[in-house]
Homo-oligomer: 200 residues x 2
């Protein structure tokens, strides 16, 4: 079953993903911009299976492209989603957890906030995002959970660009990370993708 | 059944919503920022019931706060979600539908885009958003569907601020609009909300 979901995602990446120069992979036809919800529901079910042994009270993600997969997955976990907001700074609530996340895509640092009302030391948090590359976004979300005193029970990702190292850094740090597809190599010229297959 | 969902939403607005001066209603504990997915699932089911007679091929919303309810509703419709993106202008794809939406909350006009790959004349579109006040966001989304040549089958909204007039303008223009709760009056001083109850 798990193998099937991963295989379906790999096929979708190969068939519908677009590789661009600079190691950019666009999956905006099914994962962000357009979200193929019936397909993403399969990913959500698989995340529930992978984290079935954890008592999750809340799913944390970051706007905008993490919200879709987080909310669909939350249907299977039966818990609320909190999404971290990129703050303009001007209308900032004082009662927020605050962190900064560098975006390589846009070459800028975003101020990111979560209201203190929605995360506490009693929370057991599953962090979900659509993409994992260098890991800056996930490290920012982990920092926010740390500030709240809550527990990071795991990190679930749809597509990891394994060759950019963010995932291995999180694994080395001891986080319970599952990526549903891991890309070890991709080549815009030949339009090929090589996936990593790990033992569970 | 329908009455029950509307009643649950009205109770949630009264119990968990926060009225602020300037006719601001914060429902960020269950609809945006934090999304109470098991609760929003009831709203999604209700939207499916209300638009059951329409052959919907796609749900259109706008980032960021529309994505959650749109994706949860899409679980019941079995269709993809497309979310319109607020564009910085710099990395704009040429192959996009483009419109401008004025935000009263932030007193600024946002450039908003949807890739032409994800909406076409064959699409029968349900537009979903978390909030309806003056209607600028929904009018922008309707404009995008018009550019694509597709059909707006309906507009589904969680919370309408009826006294701001955007909903009635859309109804008058003939759109098949359903708001799950309509607020006719609210008062920050007395912390009271008056709902509109229409015949279906």
């Amino acid at each position: 079953m798990e193998g099937l979901t991963m295989k379906l995602l790999e096929e979708k990446i190969v068939n519908d993903g677009v590789i661009k120069s600079g190691n950019v992979l666009k999956v905006d036809s099914f994962l962000n911009h357009q979200i193929d919800v019936p397909f993403v529901a399969e990913l959500g079910k698989e995340l529930k299976r992978l984290f079935a042994d954890r008592n999750i009270t809340k799913i944390l993600t970051i706007e905008a492209s993490g919200i879709g997969i987080a909310c669909v997955a939350a249907m299977y976990f039966g818990v609320p989603v909190v999404f971290a907001k990129k703050s303009s700074g001007s209308n900032m609530d004082k009662d927020v957890y605050f962190t900064q996340i560098y975006s390589y895509t846009h070459s800028k640092t975003n101020d990111v906030v979560v209201s203190k009302r929605f995360l506490s030391k009693n929370d057991h948090v599953l962090i979900i995002d659509d993409f994992l590359a260098n890991g800056c976004a996930l490290e920012g979300l982990i920092d926010i959970v740390r500030q709240s005193g809550g527990t990071v029970e795991g990190v679930g990702v749809a597509v990891e660009k394994g060759f950019q190292g963010g995932g291995d850094k999180l694994r080395k740090a001891g986080y319970n990370l599952h990526s549903l597809a891991i890309i070890d190599k991709m080549d815009a010229k030949t339009n090929t993708v090589v996936f990593r297959h790990e033992e569970e």
